[in-house]
Symmetry: C2
Subunit: 476 residues, 2 copies
């Protein structure tokens, strides 16, 4: 498939940002945000701020009009009011621009006749001039390799996860939150009202994009169901596709219509479609990130038989319930495994020589390393989950050293194990814990380990990975 | 009902801690932990450390044996090895002790004949001597008014929530995590194997306890189902009872048996029982805390019609889905409400003049206060939920001031509103956010507002509150 038109959006040689106010250097959103983001992301081409008042900002000359820019402009980011959109479009056509992203809102999502007509007119003008349009009413393109970003704190590192996201706010959140879980993006596109470039175009583009190994999508609704079905089918047959369909409730659908002018479609239709094409359906932003982590970091377990290692008797009982609830199997250990655990733990009271393993009495003495080795070597185990204590401040002193000791044990075991291992670090509720949790999480993903924030979330993700692989296998 | 025997456990005039090692001043658990906790919690009576080696610790004389203590001892906390339990029991009987808590494990939960016999023998000795036993294999009693605690960082403030918790680790987590949500406890008891004082005794005690307004319970299993049913029925007819039944999966039940020697009972039986007596069933520690918050802070909404206020179009679509998923109604606003919103927000693009309300474009300009007033005044609204932005670091600068501005708006609106309001502050994923989240949460609960960590969690809690009240009404 020819993607050259979208290529010039993802890899422009030069970018103009229309609607940069020289007075707004401190403010967060609008033109200045895009200027900061391009500079932060190390965009290699020329950057041209545009504002009728001219002047200079961040050492860059501000041009009164796109047409005044002396060199060619591939891509324009529009932060001007909707009322000036058509004029900008005409100027861009005259200038030979290849793509425009309208951050600008005030189009069809307003559900007014004026907004609708304006969007249609802008889109029609774009078609006539051979300009592709992203949006309107969205954050646009994040492409670390190409130096494009829409927030100035996003990572400059390129990764293997693609994201198409109808919502700008959710795109920002997903990119930032997933970064903390070790996810880096190949390309992420917040595409809003999708008046021209839509979810189907983007899916097909990412399907053919060699940098993208996993595709994640937040979709409120689509306008051309048939086209979407084809695009999704093609995409999901080549790469894992994870879809969060929002607006599934009646009122959510109304909100989606107001937000991006989307037709949501019925819950039943979506469920059938996603199953049919073999996409993985998720139900929250957190689950979407969990699946990006799973496809990125977790090697496929041979089956559902899970060993669970935790600290605390009650915690461990709940962990077993959570695994079972998500469809995993937490089998009893064979005698040889029990014997090996017994050798390590002695016959100490409170020790449970079975699955799930509770290290309450022994974690600080025995550590995680030897236990994890025993669990992974057990004949009837396909993967191991290790759950960190709820809070570092509940550890016996010296706390930081104890936490680090457990963490190093996990990293060491992971390096030596051949069976899959996942780590769960709970969302901690105390300020002191937060930095430890984030640090441990970072060390884990840097070592290549999939980290989750609850056993329930991890178990659900593993179940989805297994189902996905079973489905693909049954269809191949 | 006569509770004088348990009263002397909750309100002892003197406490001996058996098994305090003078060498272990720095360590976290065992006798020294109880000594620290009693001192921290300001226990008013005499504290007697006991260790065969004698000596002194924390300025207190250490007695070689309970019998050597010159004055009467009401309550003994045992941190000695299980092998010495019977001897301690005999000494306590000779001394006229009224209650013993065995932190000590190594009894029936080991699933060994020896452990089982030891527990039976200790319990039988206790019965003969008129001593009540808490445990074994548990953390014991937290009673801020009486100066008793089992961790040294628990609050000294007394509250209205009672907790009975079969697991010690979960009791510690619940008390600490709930404290961050504004929950203070009347009494919390980690009761472990329940060889003598069991869940039924404790439920009945809390049912009659004037300080306890809400009862929460984490239960792995009970030994006397008929007795438990009666106790639960009586308790749930006088106060809200929230139950987390753990060990519902087959393997969870096995883990529960190893943890506290509990017979779990089938999922179906528990579900029927809890519904029949009108207890509120929850499925995780977080949901248990959510219900403690709900019964403590949320006044009963007149119905399920919920106005949702958020920041971000996509977020708001998901919020609507989450509310609908939990059985709440997110109705469209009547024209008068839409008109009032329109007056406040103007006709700005991206603004949704309907429910859920998305303040993306306007939050920093308009704030939450006026909007919340309009929503609460709407004829078809029973309660309002306000969702804070995902991250303070995503706010436009100056961030801290913007966050504080939104927070103060919520507090001000709450003071003036007559309809229920709940606040949702997401678990934030960035270190810088954590302190802001905790600070905002504290300010909210100090003002009397129920705070949750997800709209889904809040919606589920509101649904459970409404169902609980409907059930009580239908049975009264």
């Amino acid at each position: 498939m020819d993607h050259s038109d979208l290529d010039s959006i993802f890899n422009p040689r030069s970018v103009a940002v229309a609607g940069v106010s020289t007075k707004s250097e401190g403010a967060g959103f609008g033109g200045i945000n895009y200027l900061n983001s391009l500079l932060h992301c190390g965009f290699k081409g020329k950057i041209y701020p545009v504002n009728p008042k001219g002047g200079e900002i961040k050492g860059l000359k501000v041009y009164p009009n796109v047409k005044d820019i002396p060199e060619p402009v591939d891509y324009v980011i529009s932060c001007i009011p909707a009322s000036a959109a058509l004029e900008l479009m005409r100027d861009c056509a005259a200038k030979g621009v290849k793509g425009i992203h309208f951050y600008t809102s005030g189009f069809s999502e307003t559900a007014t006749k004026e907004g609708d007509q304006l969007e249609k007119a802008a889109c029609s003008l774009a078609r006539q001039s051979g300009i592709r349009v992203i949006g309107p009413n969205c954050m646009g393109v994040y492409h670390p390799k190409g130096g494009l970003a829409f927030v100035s704190d996003s990572s400059n590192e390129s990764g293997s996860v693609g994201l198409i996201c109808q919502s700008g706010g959710n795109a920002i959140y997903l990119i930032r939150a997933a970064a903390q879980r070790g996810i880096r993006f190949s390309k992420a596109i917040s595409y809003g009202n999708a008046c021209d470039v839509n979810e189907s175009d983007l899916l097909e583009y990412l399907a053919d994009d060699p940098d993208t190994k996993i595709i994640t999508a937040y979709i409120e609704g689509v306008n051309n169901g048939q086209r979407f079905k084809q695009a999704l089918n093609k995409t999901a047959s080549t790469k894992p596709v994870v879809v969060l369909k929002a607006g599934t409730s009646e009122i959510g659908a109304v909100a989606a219509a107001s937000h991006t002018g989307s037709l949501s479609g019925s819950e039943r239709i979506w469920d059938g479609l996603l199953h049919q094409v073999g996409a993985v359906r998720v139900y929250s932003l957190e689950e979407l990130i969990d699946m990006a982590v799973t496809f990125s970091y977790l090697s496929l377990p041979a089956g559902r038989r899970t060993a669970v290692l935790g600290v605390g008797g009650g915690t461990t009982v709940l962990l077993a319930d959570d695994c079972a609830g998500a469809g995993l199997i937490v089998p009893r250990f064979p005698p040889v495994t029990r014997k090996e655990l017994s050798n390590l733990l002695g016959s100490e009271a409170g020790t449970i020589l079975n699955n799930p393993v509770d290290l309450s009495a022994d974690a600080w003495r025995v550590g995680f390393y030897d236990i994890l080795k025993v669990l992974a070597n057990s004949d009837n185990i396909d993967l191991t989950m290790v759950h960190f204590p709820f809070s570092i401040t509940s550890l016996p002193p010296p706390r930081a050293e104890t936490w680090e000791f457990l963490l190093q044990d996990v990293l060491r075991a992971y390096r030596e194990l051949t069976k899959p291992l996942v780590v769960v670090i709970h969302f901690l509720v105390f300020e002191e814990d937060c930095k430890w949790m984030l640090k441990a999480q970072r060390k884990c993903y840097e070592a290549g380990i999939a980290v989750y924030h609850s056993i329930g979330g991890a178990a659900k993700a593993v179940d989805r990975l297994l189902r996905y692989r079973e489905l693909r296998q049954s269809r191949s």
